[in-house]
Structures are given as structure tokens and as C-alpha cells.
Amino acid sequence: MEKKTDEYYIREILKGDSGSFSQLVEKYSHLAFSLSMKILNQREDAEEVAQDAFIKAYNSLSSFQSSSTFKTWFFRIVYNTSISKLRSRKNIEVKIDDIKISDAKIQATESAIGQLNTNDRQKYLQIGLDRLEPDERALLKMYYYDDFSMDEISIITGLTVSNVKVKIHRSRKKLLQELRFVLKDEIISIL
């Protein structure tokens, strides 16, 4: 079947064909869910938020400006809905953002992770990601996994491009620090 563009489906929906929205849901459900999952770290909440984001997008589709892509516009909704949900949770644990890892230790950690087998690497990376702040996980996911550009992430998160750049750099550094902590210095020195 011929693949139609997002703009085509949006036009159809605005003409009154609500069924066309299912094409956009099919296309972006996985990405929306995984982004909210990275922020909320809880399956039920992430699924609820992803659904809410789709409904919000559907209801405000007429206000969508084609100056940005639908994907970027929609991800901004997913991001904001996830952050709102996160804020509504009680007793949010606030971690002190303290990055002490040196460049030499970063290189050693990266090298150690590179030598792990895939299963171990997946396991430790997941643990490391879980130890990050929700917005840090989201930024890393958007940049490294979803291949969004800095400009697109800036639109999605509402941060300035330079702020996004700094935050991604810090999040990556923090992830490696957490991985070093999880892997322990001894293992890294043995590897």
C-alpha cells in the first residue's frame, strides 16, 4: 500500500475523516510511548500519557502549523503531558545534580562498557538510565535514539538550543558516572 505523508492524513482528518487519525497513531504510538516511558518510568502511566497526548493532538489538530513537522509538534505534546504527569506525582525525589567524573574516567568507562557483551551492556545501561533524572533520560533518548536534532529537541522541550546542548552533554556524562558507579571501579580496572 502506498504510504501517505502526515500532512495528507491531517488534511483528511480536518475534512472530517477521523478514521485517518489511526494511521498517525499507528506510526507514532511506539515513539510516543517510549518517550513518556523514559520520563515516567512506569508502564501504566506512560501508556495513559501517550493516549492523552494523542487525544490532545487530535483536538488541537486545526491549530497545527506546518512550520514544524507533525512529529516535532506531536512530541512537544507528549513531552509536556509527561512532565505534567510527573509533576502531579507526589513525593518526587529530587536528586542533587553533582557530576564529578573526570574525562579520563569517562574514557575508561566507555571502553569498559564497549567490552561488555550485549546482554550485560543492555542490563547496565538500563540501570544507569533509571538512575538519571526523567528529563535527562528523555533528552538522551530523543538525541541518541530518536535522532532528533538539537533544534527539534529545543522546539519539543521549550529549552534554548544552547541549553539543550549543555543538558545533553551533562546527561551523557552523568549516565557514564552512574554506569561507573554500577560497574564499580574494580571491574572497570580489570576490563
Binding site: 489511526s22 497513531v25 516511558m37 494523542f54 487525544i55 551492556r121 543492555q122 541518541y144
Partner: protein, 134 residues
């Protein structure tokens, strides 16, 4: 391999998080229930009320012009005998109106009655449909 590529490769190795299999169905059910509550309606540029207002104003203007035209002494069709009202040259205004009424005068009464009957029928049809719907 650059640091960015390395991180990209590792993160892409992670098992992807999939929503439940009925995710799309759930979203579409919510979309459809929203649509049922508030379906997208085609909004005409000029509403029915607008058309009635335009019609009424047009009728009023035609009537006023007709009455003004009738009140002028005979022969005012010529520009030279025209009066001026608040600086408006009535002769210039009435020249096309006069021509139109002259043309209308030439219409046979049977045609005029026929046209009026069609308009009246349409009007009563609309009125009847509205009453039945209520």
C-alpha cells in the same frame, strides 16, 4: 567511532518499549467518542442568519431606492434635472436604478407572478421543514 555514535549504538541496542497491542484501538475509541460528542461540522462562511440579514438589507435598500425614485418628478432620469441630497448626486445614483426598474416594468405580469410563486413556495417549504424538525 565518535562518542556520539558509540552512545547511539548502545542506546539503540536496548530493547524497545512497546505499548500494549490494543493501544491504537484504545486511542481510536477515545477519538471516536470525542468525535461523537463534538463532530467536526462544516461551517459555511456566511451563516443562515447572515443570509437573512443580507436579504433583508438588500430588500430594504431596493425599497428605499424605489420609493425615492418614484417620489422624484417625472423626467428626473436625465442627469441635468437631478437633485442633490447631502452632496450625493441622486441623478447619477438613480440612472442605473431607473434603468433597472424600467426593465422590470417590461416583464410580463405572468412571469412576475410565476417568479413570486416560486419564491413563496420555497419559503413555505423551508418553514414547513423547520416546523416538522422541531
Amino acid at each position: 567511532m565518535s562518542q556520539k555514535d558509540l552512545m547511539k549504538e548502545w542506546l539503540k541496542e536496548l530493547p524497545s518499549e512497546q505499548p500494549s497491542p490494543d493501544f491504537t484501538v484504545k486511542v481510536m475509541q477515545r477519538v471516536m467518542s470525542e468525535w461523537t460528542l463534538n463532530p467536526i461540522k462544516y461551517q459555511p462562511i456566511i451563516s443562515k442568519k447572515g443570509w437573512w440579514t443580507i436579504g433583508f438589507i438588500a430588500f430594504l435598500l431596493t425599497s428605499i431606492l424605489f420609493m425615492l425614485h418614484s417620489s422624484l418628478p417625472a423626467g428626473t432620469d436625465s442627469i441635468s434635472q437631478a437633485n442633490s441630497l447631502y452632496g450625493i448626486d441622486l441623478a447619477k445614483l438613480f440612472a442605473p436604478v431607473g434603468a433597472l426598474f424600467k426593465k422590470l416594468n417590461n416583464i410580463s405580469p405572468a412571469v412576475a407572478i410565476g417568479a413570486l410563486a416560486i419564491i413563496a413556495l420555497w419559503f413555505f417549504d423551508q418553514l414547513f421543514v423547520k416546523t416538522v424538525r422541531r
